[in-house]
Symmetry: D2
Subunit: 187 residues, 4 copies
């Protein structure tokens, strides 16, 4: 796995390493997976997915021009060749994608339901969607969506604290917690 500091990030919020690891594990990628990273931000999830699914394809969908630029630079920095960057506000841009094995939603710009609607047909049966939520509302909305549409889902809340060396001591520094909600298309 890649250390946080290795990514170019400017002031774009980035999914931290431990959250990337858990998110990608819940997405159950394999070497051939076709993946959408929606609200790709810095592209940190995109890059890790591109390495894990080295014979597959990753579509990074992002609405902000500044972030698009950053994803391009990170793709270049890490020399991954299986990434397609799509400058659009999801669900716009999802139509053109091929069938997906997995979708990871890091940001939804308030259009989560429409994105999940689009994924309902775009994901293969058995495909997985994993949402990272940092607000109560998004967590609640995602869970309600999955309940209402009969998806099997799993929700966890992850609180990571890192210890920083300060002289002879290791001091606790909390990362902000994240809800990771994952579901599998069964129909």
């Amino acid at each position: 796995m890649i250390d946080d500091e290795e990514f170019l990030r400017d002031k774009v919020p980035m999914t931290k390493q431990e959250i990337r690891i858990l998110t990608l594990a819940k997405a159950q990628l394999n070497v051939d997976s076709i993946v959408a990273d929606i609200g790709a931000g810095t592209g940190s999830i995109t890059i890790e997915a591109a390495k894990l699914s080295s014979r597959g394809k990753i579509f990074a969908v992002e609405r902000k021009a500044e972030a698009i630029e950053l994803i391009k630079r990170n793709v270049e920095k890490f020399s991954v060749e299986n990434v397609t960057i799509i400058h659009a506000e999801a669900p716009d841009g999802l139509d053109a994608l091929p069938e997906l094995d997995a979708a990871i939603i890091g940001g939804s710009g308030g259009k989560l339901d429409k994105i999940l609607d689009a994924l309902s047909t775009k994901l293969k049966v058995g495909g997985r969607v994993v949402v990272n939520a940092i607000t109560i509302q998004t967590a609640a909305n995602v869970v309600e969506y999955f309940r209402a549409h009969g998806w099997t889902y799993e929700a966890i809340h992850v609180q990571i604290t890192r210890f920083e060396r300060v002289g002879s001591h290791d001091m606790a520094k909390a990362l902000n917690p994240v809800y990771i909600i994952s579901a599998r298309r069964i129909l």
Copy 2:
């Protein structure tokens, strides 16, 4: 309880409200308690203790001149009249104190064992000491001290996340976690 923003704090680290609340509850102060606040920092614990033990007395012990200044200003701002400020590096300064009902240790400058030794005689039998620790080492040292000296102790780890309003959403913002270790002098 007082909101964090009400305290003057400059750049001195301050114990956050929820940690103050739990720390003071574990110290079991009453209206007449005689209390030492060791490593008093901004004086936030001192001020809250002074209000809870309004007929008692609070001794704020602090080694840093900058923090001493801040404690003075907070004592003035909150108009508490039962606080004595002691500019010393504990255990220095503890000798001159009267018998204590409780001691709260927010900072120890690496002299925790000596401070606890001093409190062993300075605390009344039945008196309580509560330590806030933010490093693995301090947490481990405190627990080992209490084990080695036969004190009855209780240790908890407290992780508070506050939600901040960002538009229509409430976003999780973690505070750094704190170990709260409390013990009672029984002999």
Copy 3:
């Protein structure tokens, strides 16, 4: 504060000590407060509130017969004389209460909005309501209610871990996390 083990509890879920402490602090009780404890469960919050507001009055509202019995026994055990127990499913039973300084909602049986509606007139202006939520849905609903009705609120997520002595080691045992959402009636 009272240790968890001191309360009679059978199999009724009980608010743990640290959560009781924070909840009561957020309710800002004083010695004369008139308080409703809604969904009182074992009565652990009721008992602590009765001690804090020793010249005030606590109304424990609870729908389950088994819990009502437990509250009675705890009231007796702790010899508090300012508690009135109301066997009803809130908002039923709230009408008959006097004006309140504070209301604490530990359980709502799915009728949270109606309970909050009732409290909107029953709480004094400046009075406080504090909700303990253990599900994503309740946390989200409470926040949405306060937003929709223009209440000023504060939401935190509290994760306490206790360390249990196991031989020469102190082993981390997590309590289930609780959202504590508090608001103040301003109009």
Copy 4:
């Protein structure tokens, strides 16, 4: 990744899925890695490592007969063929191992320093050791060992809460937190 319920576990404590995922990620296994799983318990880490390093080799070291039996049954259940089970109390049993790319320590029976001493020569330069600690003492000891011996290390504290469906709500159920401390042999 494998769900917790799929492992046979009897009453042996098992590393939960999210902790397995993070632990294995920190160990940076590749398809050819030679790995020791020390204090293998149910073998859940062993099995996952065996799948990740399918062309490598996993040595599961465990002192308890009951757990050895369980590891055997899990190896059989998951049909992994690159696992060697060693019934010994580490550091006993480590001498006979080949050079390691990674070692994961889930349990140390109080012999952590000796195990780390043994790994200091057994790990390849650049190899990684990852320790899961559930007590303050073990966390502190591991960090002190790495400091004293000049290893570059990283320590995190991981608190996972799972949400369980209870009727129309998703209720928070905390897992016990774990310290994950990882280091790399550099000399």
